[in-house]
């Protein structure tokens, strides 16, 4: 006889009860494994999606709305030896005219064969009028190979869309292409540079066709690179290679000869230095930019590279007037002394003969310039400045140079003034015949000249302060100048920086929403129940072996030895339960993954989650399962071993000494009454003071009520046991006394059920629904009616006369009824809960803080102490430092998507390549801005002056029946690909994620409570076993078995009901805000259903053991006694 034999004899002999314990261990381990493996699977799937969406691309260069030469890819490839491909990427609307189907937001990418190499596709790249489309586009538009589709894209051009005087004409271009290939996800179909698991709608066409269509022939806005083996770019690396080979054109700079009068030039022409046609000035060289205006940094770089160069700023003025006469729409050049060859004072103006004659002015005469200052969304403010004529110059002198006028799209190539297409309103009636003649003779040759500093000051142009630089040089020197200039410039300043997109994607996936933790917390109750079940089953078993334990003690085994022997059994049982538990966990995980890909799709927004099991995770789950179970079993053993040996030997349980609990009565009484009182006072206070939105306090009050209720039930049972009576005990008296005698167990069951019900009802009732709440300005909708997003930008302020006219809003009768709040959006990652990846640069939205402040729109969860709590929005208008502004985001985004806190800083790169720091100054309470960082629109445009029209807008107005207004707006802005949703629907889409989590919790929580009711069944079994003699006495005294059955049923149904009622009442107190608010619809049916199921399941678990107990012959119990 040795311990091993004793161990295995015991295990074998008690195999049946141990199988039950193992089942408990198995359930808890399975749930734990399932939850942890979900985490592994989601993480793995996201990392896999990163690989699928990027192919073997490791790096990407995407300079926003700037363009670089397509040859750059070949040059970088030549230096590094790694693959690189140019592409053009832009948003578009895709239409299948045959079936009248459209997608408003597709991603069109112009590619060549090199790009397809990143997916190792044998398929030839799309040629002209051909398209490769992703499977989801094919499905949505009902397209098959050979079908045609229409693409409408924003004609981007190289100039910023909102630049002063840029064309007003329709900024879109259409392509009709034929589908040649439908790409699956892993065949480039899911291509996206954004760390997001949702699949974009992808359409790939020929890069050449797209470039020509967009009028950017030879240029690209995306360059991807990476080795097929490991996605790296070989030495010297992509950014160094870029520095080695980039050219002025990649920064949008062009060198050419200035052109004399009568010889129009176009920006974008290849360098014309040394051009033998003799059109240009062979000794003069001019630097111009695609972006029409040089920003300060680039301008200074040119001045540093070519000291003493002539700096020029040419602007269109609305009028030049003097003494009642006026000349409309003329160009005026502001230039430095190097160009003017004289120093002009701040009020000096030099005019040409034509203008002097037209206005009848001469030196010393006053002149007034009237001009527009450009605001956002083509908003214009007319300003004026007064000058004094310093000199009059001939029309055809050195300064009279039509090349001084920048190449404003829509103007430069116009045949006459009436053909001008400018972003500024031109009153054609004001244009006289002689003005037309001047245009014919001299084109945009400036009629007047002022000092450079004066021009920069009065026109205050956020796009830049120069339109050209000129200098004298020869061909060989020019190359040196170009080299010097490129040394002065940094590619990053033009957005030309490679991002390690694959690594970023992997990092974003690795730090993604931890579904392991999430499911652990969601499965908490089921695990808690399973562990409790294990404890109960083991306790039941341990009690049957109480005499054995006592005997071992009596035979001289020390407590430690007994503990060791029994724990060894527990360890083996735990392991025996945990190992199949891990396997069951994997099966359970399969169900969860299936649920995530289908039923709970809203939680992950992809159906690409695949199961992935890490051996370490399985080991952790198994060891945790063993340890948890062992812990509870050891706890049971320790408790049992505390009993006196003499008592244990008899297999008896310690007799409850009622009056030994006097202090306990006081404690439970105090706890119960005080908790309930505080809870009721809190509830009353919250209702009286109208703080019905203070969910946290209500929940606390509910939880306190629950704790108090449990304490009071305990007190009641204690008092029942202490009460003495001379009366014959009634049925209910007997039932209550029975429950009170074993009140430890009774309270365990009641508490478990109450907690379970509380959790289930609270979560069920907190499912977010929006009925009636959305009109409140304080709500997450801000009280706005609609949210609109458009693929092609809306260039005008839709509340302005120009905007109303441009989009035909007048005809719809909108003005006065509908207000548009247009917002600027800077591209970034979606940081909403719809994206599982952890993002670092969320999309930025420029909003009007003043308006939001006036409306007192939205609510905040947290604010920096420096923010005025009464007017938080105004804080956004503060420029905290030259490179620091404030931003707000949804608190959930700050905490979960960004993993940050209030006061933390996000770093972006502004348009000029400088760092822009955004301090998170406040957390919004669940708003429609989820996924974005909101900043002041004015400040945003300061850092991103080229930001075009609006892509996002909020719409306020009279709600029309159904979605009439939304559909009317979608029709009006059909060409912009506008999609309009109600703000409450948008909020509901975000809430759907949370609601899905709640659904999972409810399901798993409900399952947990049901397992808890199995525990109730065990309690009954245990109870019946111990009370065999008691039942036998009843029989001996002449009671029928039916009476015993009723007594058992009543006693345990009372526990069940008490638990359910306690949980329900406390939960109802906790969700009082939802109950009293018209904004919430408490899913009463759902909650009632769950509670009913729990109740019926509980009754079932009472019925079976009770019925089985009375079926047996009870009288031997009496003999044992």
């Amino acid at each position: 006889m040795n311990r091993t034999r004793y161990l295995f004899r015991s295990l074998w002999f008690y195999r049946k009860p141990y199988l039950a314990v193992m089942a408990g261990v198995m359930i808890s381990t399975a749930v734990l494994t399932g939850a942890l493996v979900v985490g592994d699977s989601v993480r793995y799937s996201l990392q896999r999606i990163t690989g699928v969406r990027l192919g073997t691309i490791g790096y990407a260069l995407q300079p926003g709305d700037r363009y670089f030469r397509q040859e750059l890819a070949g040059e970088i490839s030549g230096i590094t030896g790694s693959r690189a491909a140019p592409a053009i990427q832009c948003g578009a609307i895709a239409i299948n005219s045959d079936k009248n189907l459209r997608i408003n937001q597709v991603q069109v990418t112009g590619i060549d064969q090199r790009f397809m190499g990143f997916w190792d596709l044998a398929q030839p790249a799309p040629r002209e009028d051909e398209a490769v489309i992703s499977r989801n586009v094919a499905d949505r538009l009902g397209l098959v190979i050979g079908d045609e589709l229409l693409l409408r894209l924003r004609k981007q051009g190289k100039a910023p869309p909102n630049a002063p005087f840029s064309a007003e004409r329709e900024p879109s271009v259409s392509f009709r292409v034929k589908v040649t290939f439908i790409a699956r996800d892993e065949q480039m179909g899911r291509f996206s540079l954004k760390s997001n698991q949702t699949a974009p709608f992808n359409i790939f066409i020929s890069i050449t066709q797209l470039a020509v269509g967009l009028e950017i022939a030879g240029y690209a806005n995306l360059l991807v690179a990476g080795e097929s083996s490991d996605r790296t770019v070989k030495s010297p690396g992509p950014d160094s290679a870029l520095r080695m080979c980039w050219k002025p054109e990649d920064a949008g700079l062009h060198f050419r000869h200035p052109v004399r009068v009568g010889h129009p030039v176009r920006v974008g022409d290849p360098d014309r230095v040394g051009d033998p046609d003799g059109v240009g000035d062979p000794d003069g060289v001019e630097v111009v930019t695609d972006r029409l205006f040089f920003d300060g940094k680039t301008g200074n770089a040119v001045l540093a590279a070519v000291p003493g160069s002539k700096a020029i700023l040419t602007y269109m003025v609305n009028s030049i007037s003097s003494g009642g006469k006026s000349t409309p729409y003329s160009f005026v050049t502001a230039a430095n002394a190097a160009f003017m060859k004289q120093i002009l004072g701040p009020r000096d103006i030099i005019v040409n003969e034509w203008l002097a004659k037209d206005l009848g002015i001469g030196p010393g005469d006053p002149v007034t310039l009237r001009y527009f200052i450009m605001g956002p969304l083509r908003s214009l403010k007319e300003d004026s400045a007064g000058f004094v004529v310093k000199a009059v110059i001939p029309d055809r002198n050195r300064l009279a140079d039509q090349g001084l006028m920048p190449d404003f799209p829509g103007m430069s190539d116009a045949g006459n003034c009436r053909d001008w297409e400018t972003g500024a309103p031109v009153d054609l009636k004001k244009i006289r015949d002689k003005d037309e003649q001047y245009w014919k003779d001299f084109r945009g040759t400036p009629k007047a000249f002022i000092a450079l500093e004066t021009g920069q000051k009065i026109w205050n142009n956020r796009f830049g302060h120069y339109t050209a630089f000129r200098f004298e040089t020869t061909g060989s020197v020019l190359q040196k100048i170009k080299k010097r200039l490129m040394e002065q410039l940094i590619p990053g300043d033009f957005g030309l920086t490679f991002r390690p997109v694959y690594m970023e994607g992997q990092r974003a996936a690795a730090n993604s929403t931890d579904f392991g933790q999430l499911f652990l917390s969601l499965s908490f109750f089921i695990m808690f129940s399973a562990v409790l079940l294990t404890a109960m089953l083991f306790s039941l078993h341990a009690r049957t072996r109480m005499a054995e334990t006592g005997l071992l003690a009596a035979l001289g085994f020390s407590r430690r030895q007994i503990m060791g022997m029994m724990s060894a059994e527990a360890l083996i049982i735990s392991a025996a339960g945990a190992i199949p538990g891990v396997i069951a966990g994997i099966l359970y995980n399969k169900i969860l993954i299936l649920g995530l890909n289908t039923l709970w799709y809203d939680a992950v927004n992809t159906s690409l989650i695949v199961m992935h099991v890490e051996p370490l995770t399985m080991l952790i789950a198994m060891v945790s399962g063993i340890l948890f179970s062992l812990l509870v079993m050891v706890a049971v053993l320790i408790r049992n071993l505390k009993n006196p040996v003499a008592l244990m030997v008899k297999g008896a349980f310690p007799v409850v000494q009622p009056s030994s609990k006097r202090r306990s009565i006081m404690v439970s009484g105090f706890t119960g009454y005080v908790s309930v009182a505080i809870s009721l006072i809190m509830l009353a206070g919250l209702l009286i003071t109208g703080q019905t939105m203070n969910v946290t306090l209500f929940l606390s009050a509910g939880a306190l009520l629950l704790a108090g209720g449990v304490a009071l039930v305990y007190l009641f049972l204690q008092k029942t046991l202490l009460a003495t009576t001379e009366d014959i005990p009634g049925f209910s008296g007997l039932v209550i006394r029975n429950a009170a005698l074993n009140r430890g167990r009774t309270m365990t069951v009641i508490t478990l059920l109450a907690l379970g019900t509380f959790s289930v009802v609270i979560t069920g009732a907190n499912r977010k629904t929006f009925y009636g709440d959305e009109t409140s300005r304080r709500s997450g909708t801000g009280g706005f009616l609609l949210w609109a997003e458009n693929t092609l930008p809306v260039m005008y302020d839709l509340n302005s006369t120009a905007g109303i006219k441009a989009y035909g809003l007048q005809e719809e009768g909108f003005p006065g009824k509908v207000r548009f709040i247009q917002m600027t959006r800077m591209d970034g990652d979606d940081a909403s809960c719809l994206n599982l990846n952890k993002v670092s640069r969320p999309m930025m939205l420029g909003i009007p803080p003043n308006l939001f402040d006036r409306l007192q729109a939205f609510s905040f969860t947290s604010l920096l102490p420096s923010v005025n709590r009464d007017h938080p929005w105004n804080y956004l208008d503060n420029r905290l430092a030259p490179d620091i502004i404030a931003g707000f985001a949804d608190q959930t985004v700050i905490t979960w998507a960004l993993g940050r806190n209030i006061g933390d800083t996000l770093i972006y790169q502004d348009e000029s390549g400088k760092k822009l720091k955004i301090i998170l100054a406040g957390g919004l309470d669940n708003s429609i801005f989820q996924g974005n960082i909101v900043v002041s629109d004015n400040l945003l445009r300061l850092f991103y002056p080229s930001a075009g029209g609006s892509h996002v807008m909020l719409i306020d107005g009279e709600a029309l029946p159904g979605d009439t207004l939304a559909r009317r707006l979608e029709m009006l802005f059909r060409d912009q690909g506008m999609m309009v949703t109600s703000t409450s629907s948008r909020l509901a889409a975000f809430a759907a994620v949370e609601n899905t989590y709640l659904s999972v919790f409810l399901l798993l929580g409900g399952l947990g409570v049901m397992i808890g009711t199995v525990g109730l069944g065990i309690v009954i079994l245990q109870n019946i076993r111990q009370r065999k003699s008691e039942f036998a006495v009843y029989l001996a005294l002449g009671f029928r078995k039916k009476f015993i059955l009723q007594m058992i049923m009543a006693e345990h149904a009372m526990m069940l009901l008490s638990g359910l009622l306690l949980g329900l009442i406390s939960a109802l107190a906790g969700i009082l805000p939802s109950l009293v608010s018209p904004g919430y619809a408490v899913p009463g049916l759902f909650i009632s259903g769950i509670i009913l199921v729990i109740f019926l399941n509980g009754l079932l678990w009472i019925w079976f053991p009770a019925k089985a107990a009375v079926k047996n012959d009870l009288l031997p119990g009496l003999r044992d006694e």
Binding site: M1, L552, S558, V649
Partner: protein
């Protein structure tokens, strides 16, 4: 003196209640080597309490218990376990044979805490001899479920003796047996007292069983009185 109770009192008192439920009061008892004695008394008189205190399974409310010259109160849990393992043998009213073990395994259960291999071997030999002595030789590999109550109780006696204790404490050992088996067991205890150089204390309410012992004590009104000495 092998074991001694000095002015031992045991009462139970409910918290917050002044009255005490006195079980035994100022009981003193000395047990010499090879002595055999019986404690008789009606149910609830405190016989078992007295035996539990003597066997260190319970603690007195006041008074001293000395076992093998050591005061029980001063022993730690490990020393107490060692005393119970080697100095005392217990026989209970129920045999408490473990259902998962065979007869021989049950008998050898007290040997488990013994670490000395030689002693373990000795104990095993002794177990077989004792089993033979009590007439259970053919049943050693049977489980308790396949033994009669009398056989189980005899096995329980062997289990109590396997470590050669010097004091055998039997709490109503014949309580679950019929009169024939009861007398056989009582006789066995008497013989073992003489053969094994063993002091035996038997708690019983049966005068017939008590008559096999050298002295008979009676508990009345919480006091222990010597009523008969042979």
């Amino acid at each position: 003196m092998l074991a001694e109770l000095k002015n031992v009192t045991r009462y139970y008192q409910q918290e917050g209640v002044t009255t005490r439920n006195l079980i035994i009061d100022q009981v003193s008892l000395g047990i010499e080597e090879n002595e055999s004695l019986a404690v008789i008394g009606p149910s609830g008189s405190g016989k078992s309490t007295l035996l539990n205190i003597l066997g260190s399974l319970d603690k007195p409310s006041s008074g001293k218990v000395v076992l093998d010259g050591a005061e029980v109160d001063l022993l730690d849990e490990k020393e107490l376990a060692a005393i119970r393992n080697r100095f005392i043998g217990f026989v209970f009213q129920q045999h408490h044979l473990l259902p998962q073990l065979t007869l021989i395994e049950n008998v050898l259960l007290p040997v488990l805490p013994v670490k000395d291999k030689a002693k373990q071997r000795e104990a095993t030999d002794r177990a077989h001899n004792l089993i033979e002595r009590v007439g259970l030789k053919t049943l050693v590999h049977r489980r308790p479920a396949h033994l009669s109550v009398g056989e189980c109780q005899r096995a329980a006696v062997v289990r109590a003796l396997v470590n050669q204790p010097r004091l055998l404490l039997a709490d109503e050992p014949t309580g679950s047996l019929d009169s024939e088996h009861a007398m056989q067991l009582a006789q066995l205890l008497g013989e073992l007292n003489r053969e094994q150089n063993l002091a035996v204390v038997v708690v019983t309410h049966s005068m017939e069983v008590a008559s096999y012992m050298g002295k008979i004590y009676r508990i009345t009104s919480e006091k222990l009185q010597l009523t008969e000495k042979r």
